[in-house]
């Protein structure tokens, strides 16, 4: 029959401790928030400062190459096409284009 009395006595100091912890947390949060707000307001944003502190990349080199191409255009007078010699001919290689060689007695 003494159990309810014991439970009520233990709960009272716990609720007081929980409220204290909540208030302490809120106080610390507000303090840090205020500190950061002051820094941002003073132009000392930690994120911006870290980016600015990084080593700048060297400038990219661009090589400009000029290519000069010389084209010689020779205008020849119009003449009759060259005729192959009697024993010589130029033909297309596609599909052979020539009679097969013959091995024979010589």
């Amino acid at each position: 029959m003494t159990e309810p009395t014991t439970t009520r006595a233990a709960r009272r100091p716990r609720s007081v401790a929980a409220l204290g912890a909540i208030w302490a947390t809120l106080a610390i949060f507000m303090a840090v928030l205020g500190l950061l707000a002051l820094q941002v307001a003073a132009g000392k944003d930690p994120a911006l400062r870290a980016r600015a502190a990084a080593t700048p990349l060297p400038p990219r080199r661009v090589l400009v190459r000029k290519v000069y191409e010389r084209r010689v255009i020779v205008h020849l007078p119009a003449t009759a096409p060259l005729q192959p010699t009697q024993a010589s001919q130029q033909v297309s290689a596609a599909g052979g284009g020539y009679s097969l060689p013959v091995t024979r007695t010589s």
Partner: protein, 327 residues
């Protein structure tokens, strides 16, 4: 569509044909220009090594009374090729039978002359028998010293490079044309083939029948050499009514009647093909089957029958030399 040059001219007592396709490198001469250059090379080759031109280097060597005679690189190479053929044939293809060939009537060029009838010659021919090497091999007395640039032989031993000259010329020109995609060097039927193009798409070579002139077989080659020896072109009638031709039995010094009238051989080079075709024709049917067994060939018997030998008969390849045939 790439241009090619198909150039035919007359030299070395035969028709020479050059087929040259586009160069592999732009720095090489175009096919037409290359053909003109190689024609000049062959004509110079023929002039310097002809047995029938008194001013040739070969005639100068044969007439020289010294034991040791200075000789150009071309002459040394040509004589070396003749000696190689003699060695390869165990003396059957003998380059020192100049006196013998003159004795049977082949003293001057027969270029342009009409050959005697082979059929009549066969009717009058003695019984067939294979040729044999000469007992006293004169060709073994010939030495070539490339370091000193001389040829040594007993004075009076004369040399004829005609038996191997066309094959050597075909190989030499083929070597000079190795920078072209496809080329055929046909020195009177002794043919060298090369170029990466023919490795991919082999060329057909027709074999001509010595009696009918018809194509009896078509060989397909990616590279290497083909040559034919026969009795139907350099054949004549002697004053006594008998017939003679230019392929001699070294043992007798007389024209050989072996039972064959034509032999075509395949080989890695035109020089070897020419040597093998002569071995085959001089050896008769049995010897020809042995000589042509490795690389293949075609022989024509006295009665005109055609026989395929080795890889040509089997229709399969021998290494990568022979790639097929079509009857």
């Amino acid at each position: 569509m790439s241009p090619l040059e198909d150039h035919t001219f007359h030299s070395m007592g035969s028709d020479i044909r050059l087929i040259i396709e586009a160069p592999l490198l732009p720095t090489l001469a175009p096919p037409a220009q290359a053909a003109r250059r190689e024609r000049a090379y062959i004509e110079d080759f023929a002039a310097r090594l002809s047995r029938f031109r008194a001013e040739s280097e070969l005639c100068a060597l044969n007439a020289d009374p010294r034991h040791e005679v200075p000789a150009s690189l071309l002459l040394r190479t040509a004589v070396a090729s003749g000696l190689w053929a003699a060695e390869r044939s165990c003396g059957l293809v003998d380059p020192t039978l100049v006196g013998e060939i003159e004795a049977v009537g082949y003293e001057s060029s027969q270029d342009g002359g009409t050959p005697a009838s082979l059929c009549e010659a066969l009717e009058a021919a003695p019984p067939s028998r294979p040729a044999r090497p000469r007992g006293e091999a004169r060709w073994k007395l010939v030495e070539i010293d490339h370091e000193r640039g001389v040829i040594r032989r007993p004075p009076g031993v004369r040399i004829d490079t005609g038996g191997t000259g066309k094959g050597l010329a075909a190989d030499a020109v083929a070597h000079r044309l190795r920078g072209y995609t496809r080329f055929v060097v046909d020195c009177g039927g002794d043919i060298a083939i090369g170029g990466v193009g023919y490795e991919l798409d082999p060329i057909g070579i027709e074999v001509e029948h010595p009696l009918t002139g018809e194509c009896v077989h078509t060989l397909r080659l990616a590279h290497g050499g083909v040559a034919t020896s026969g009795l139907n072109v350099r054949i004549w009638k002697r004053p006594d009514g008998s017939f003679a031709h230019h392929l001699l039995d070294p043992s007798s010094g007389e024209p050989v009647w072996s039972g064959l009238i034509g032999a075509t051989a395949l080989a890695p080079s035109a020089l070897e093909a020419e040597t093998l075709s002569k071995i085959a024709l001089l050896s008769g049917p049995q010897g020809a089957r042995r000589a042509l067994a490795e690389h293949g060939g075609v022989v024509v018997h006295n009665d005109g029958d055609v026989e395929l030998i080795g890889p040509v008969k089997a229709g399969s390849s021998s290494g990568s030399l022979f790639v097929g045939s079509a009857a």
